[in-house]
Symmetry: C3
Subunit: 322 residues, 3 copies
C-alpha cells in the first residue's frame, strides 16, 4: 500500500483574486494530495469567469515548497526492476494514454504505472495553467527546490523574498533529473545554456541571481511578497480573460514551435479574440473615439495610461462592462 503524504491548499477569496497557501506539512513538501487539490483548483478557476488571478504562497515560514515528497518519487521505481531508456519511454507513453482514458485510472494506481500516471496528471495541471485565461503568480515567501521550483516556473509571474533563500533544481545530486517540467520551463525562461549548467550542477539561484537571469520577476522583503504578488495579480488580471488565454497559448505553445507553426497558432488565437464580443465592442469603441476626437486614442498619453491601469482602453460602451 502506498504512502500518501498529507498536505492541503488553503484558499482565501479576495474578489477576482484568490490567495492559495500550500501547506505541505512540517517539511513543506509537495506530494500527491497537493497535486490532487491543485488539479481541482485549476479546473475550478479556469471555468469561473469571476476569477482572474491566483497567487500561490507557502504555509511554511521560510519555504515556498521544499521539494517533492521524495517517497512519492521513489516508490514507483522500487516496485519494478530497473528499466532502461526504452522501458522508461514505454512507461511514459502508456501513462499518457492511461491519463487520457481516466476511466482506467483506478485500475492502474496499484500498479507500477501509478506514479507515472500521477506525473502525467501533474504535467496536465501545469499545462492547463499555461493555457488558462487566469493569471497565476508564485509568491515565493522562501526557498523552492525541485518540484517547488518547477511549480514556480509553471506560474506566469514570480515574486521572491529577499534573504538567505534559494530556488533551483538539485535533482542531479540524487542521481535523477527534474521531472515536473523543470528541464523544459527553466530552459524556455532563462535560455538553453544557463538552464543546462544550472541543472547539471544542481546548484540553486540566490534571489539576486534569479532576478538577474529572469528566473523571477521581482525580489522584495519577505513581508511584502504576498502584497506585491496581489498587486500584480490585480494589474494583469484586469485584462480581458479571453485575451489573456489567447496570448498565453500563443506565447507558451506557439512560441515553442517552429516559426511557421507558431504563426498558425497565433492566427487561430487572434481570430478567436477578434471575433469575440469583447474584442468587437472594444474595437468599435476605439473607432468611435478616433472619429470624435480626431486622434487615435492610444496616441493620447493620458488615455494610454488609463488603459494600462484599467486593463482596457476606456470607451463609451466598454467602461460599463468592467
Amino acid at each position: 500500500m502506498r504512502h500518501h503524504s498529507k498536505g492541503h491548499l488553503n484558499v482565501e477569496d479576495r474578489d477576482s483574486v484568490l490567495i492559495v497557501r500550500l501547506d505541505g506539512g512540517p517539511h513543506g513538501v509537495f506530494g500527491l494530495e497537493i497535486a490532487n487539490q491543485l488539479e481541482a483548483l485549476v479546473d475550478r478557476v479556469d471555468r469561473d469567469p469571476s476569477v482572474h488571478a491566483v497567487v500561490f504562497t507557502g504555509a511554511h515560514p521560510e519555504r515556498f515548497v521544499s521539494h517533492a515528497d521524495v517517497r512519492w518519487l521513489q516508490e514507483g521505481g522500487a516496485a519494478v526492476p530497473p528499466v532502461g531508456r526504452r522501458g522508461a519511454s514505454v512507461v511514459a507513453r502508456t501513462a499518457r494514454n492511461v491519463d487520457r482514458a481516466r476511466v482506467l485510472a483506478p485500475l492502474v494506481n496499484r500498479t507500477p504505472l501509478g506514479p507515472a500516471v500521477e506525473l502525467e496528471r501533474l504535467h496536465a495541471t501545469f499545462l492547463r495553467m499555461n493555457r488558462s485565461g487566469v493569471i497565476f503568480i508564485a509568491a515565493l515567501n522562501g526557498s523552492a527546490l525541485g518540484l517547488g521550483a518547477e511549480f514556480a516556473w509553471a506560474n506566469d509571474l514570480r515574486v521572491m523574498a529577499d534573504g538567505n533563500f534559494f530556488i533551483g533544481q538539485p535533482e542531479v545530486l540524487l542521481g535523477i533529473m527534474p521531472g515536473g517540467g523543470g528541464s523544459q520551463r527553466l530552459t524556455r525562461l532563462i535560455g538553453t545554456h544557463k538552464s543546462l549548467v544550472a541543472i547539471l550542477e544542481g546548484k540553486p539561484f540566490t534571489p539576486a541571481q534569479a532576478l538577474a537571469d529572469g528566473a523571477v520577476d521581482a525580489v522584495v522583503p519577505p513581508d511584502e511578497v504576498v502584497t506585491r504578488a496581489v498587486e500584480l495579480a490585480a494589474h494583469f488580471g484586469s485584462r480581458t480573460k479571453g485575451s489573456v488565454a489567447a496570448i498565453k497559448r500563443a506565447v507558451y505553445f506557439g512560441g515553442s514551435m517552429s516559426l511557421t507553426d507558431g504563426l498558425h497558432v497565433e492566427r487561430t488565437e487572434f481570430l478567436g479574440t477578434a471575433l469575440s464580443k469583447d474584442g468587437q465592442q472594444l474595437m468599435l469603441d476605439y473607432m468611435e473615439s478616433t472619429e470624435s476626437s480626431g486622434e487615435l486614442p492610444l496616441y493620447n498619453p493620458d488615455i494610454y495610461k488609463r488603459a494600462l491601469e484599467l486593463g482596457t482602453v476606456p470607451g463609451r460602451r466598454s467602461t460599463n462592462g468592467r
Copy 2:
C-alpha cells in the same frame, strides 16, 4: 461593401538599396492597401538580383506605423456571429488553404473569410521577407504599435529614433491579441518571458528599453535614423545574396525547430551555398591565397578587416565580381 483605407509606399532607389516610406494617411495606419503594395514590393526585390537591401521608414513625422487600420480588423468579425476557439481554428485553416489556391480569392473576399485570407497573405509577405536574400531594415523614425511593431519585428534589423517614442503590442487593451506575428517574432527576439509580460500588459517599450532587451539594434537621434539604416543596409547588403538567404532561412526557420530538424535545414542550405558558383569561386580564391602567402587569409587582420568591409574575402577572381 468593405472600407479600404488608403495608403501607399513611396519607393526611392539608391543603387542596391531601396528606401521605402510608408504613408498610412494622416493617422499613419497600416491597412489593406499598404499590405497589397508591400506584397508586390517584396516579391519584386526578392527576384531582382540588383537589390540587396530595403530600408522602411514612416512618412508620418512622429510615427513609423501607428498601428493597424482598426476597421480592417473589426469588420471581418462584425459580419459573423462570435465563434469560439474551434471556429477560429476552422477559419484560420480554411484561410490558409484559400490563400494557397489564389484562384479562389476573389470569391471569398466578400465573405466573412475575406479578412482571414488577407491576414494569411500578410503573414506570407512577412515570411517571404524572412526567407529572402534581401536585408530588410526598419528605420523607426517614431513610434510603432501593434501591426507597426509587428512589421518592425519582421525586418532583419531595427534602428529607432531616440525621444518620446515607443514600440510595442497594446492589443490586449482592445480585448484582442497580436495578429501580425507579434506573439511569435517578439518572443523569438527577446525571449519567451519578456515577450509574454509585455504582450499581457500591453505596455510599449521606450527606445532605451527596446535597445536593452534587444528589440531594436540601435537608438540614434531622429534625424539620423534613415542615414544609419542606409549604412547598415549597405554593410549587410554587401554580402553574397545567396549566403544571406541561406543564413536567414537556417536561423529564422531551422533555429525555431527541434535541434535535429534545424540541423537538417542547415545542411540543406549549406550545401546549396557550397555548391554555388559564388561559393566555389571564393573558396578557390581562399585556397590560392593560402598557398601563395603561406597563411590562412582570415588570420591576417588586415585581410579580415577588408573582408568585413567588402562583404567577401578579397581575392584574385572575386574582386572583379562585386
Copy 3:
C-alpha cells in the same frame, strides 16, 4: 582522387577526465582525418563508464581550431554542376539515408555525395556528444573560426583564453554559410537575433564579447585555460553519468521542441533516472537521512555544500559508491 588533410588527436588520460589535443597541422585546420578520429573517440568515451569528462584543446600555439580544411568543403562542389536549393535538399536527404545505411558508405565516397555523407557523419558525432553522459569542454587556447567555433558550440562548456583572440562564423565572407551546426547551436546559445547578426556579418566575437553574450563560460589567462577546463571537467563529471545524459538530452533536444513534446521527452528521461539503481539508492538514502536527522538534507547548508562538491548528496550507502 581527393586530398585528405592530415591531422590527429593526442589523448592524455587523467583518471576520469581525458585531455585531447587537436593537431590540425601547421595551419590548425579541421579536416576529414580529425572528424574520423573524433567520431571514434566520442564512441569510445560514451561507452566507457570510467570516462566522465573530456577536455578538448588545440595543439597550435595560438589557435583552438583555425577553421575547416577549405579544400574539404570545396572539393565536393567542384565535381558537380551548381545545384539550386531543391538539388541541395535532395543531396542532404540522400546523404542522411546513406549515412544510416553505413554499408553503402564506401560506394559513395568516390561520388559527389561523398562530402555530404562526411558532413552528415560529423553532425552525427556532434549530436552524439549532446546525447552523452560525458561532459565535453572546449578549452579554447586561442582563436576558433567556422568549424572550430562550431565544434566549440557542440561542447557542453567553453573556457577561452584572454588576449587578442576571436571566435565566430566568417562563412558569409566566402559566399557560403556555417555547415557544422553553427547556425543552430549558436542560435540556441545566444538567442536568435544576436546569432543572426553575427552570422550575417561574419565578424567574430572577442573573448569579452563572447563571455558577455554567453557564447563562452569563462575567460582566463592563456596558460590557465586547460587547468580551468580540467577543474570544470572534474566538477561536472562527478555527477552520476546517467543523470548527466538524461539532463543533456532533455535540455538540448526536448528544450528545442514544442513545449508539449519537450515535456514528454523530460518525463521519459526522468522515469529512466528515477527507476535506475543509482537514483533509487540515493533517494532511499535521502529518506533515511531525513528520518534520522528530522530535517530534509538539502536544507542543511553543510550537506548541500558537500553534495555540490561530491556530485551526489552524501549518504550511508551512496558514499561508498564513488
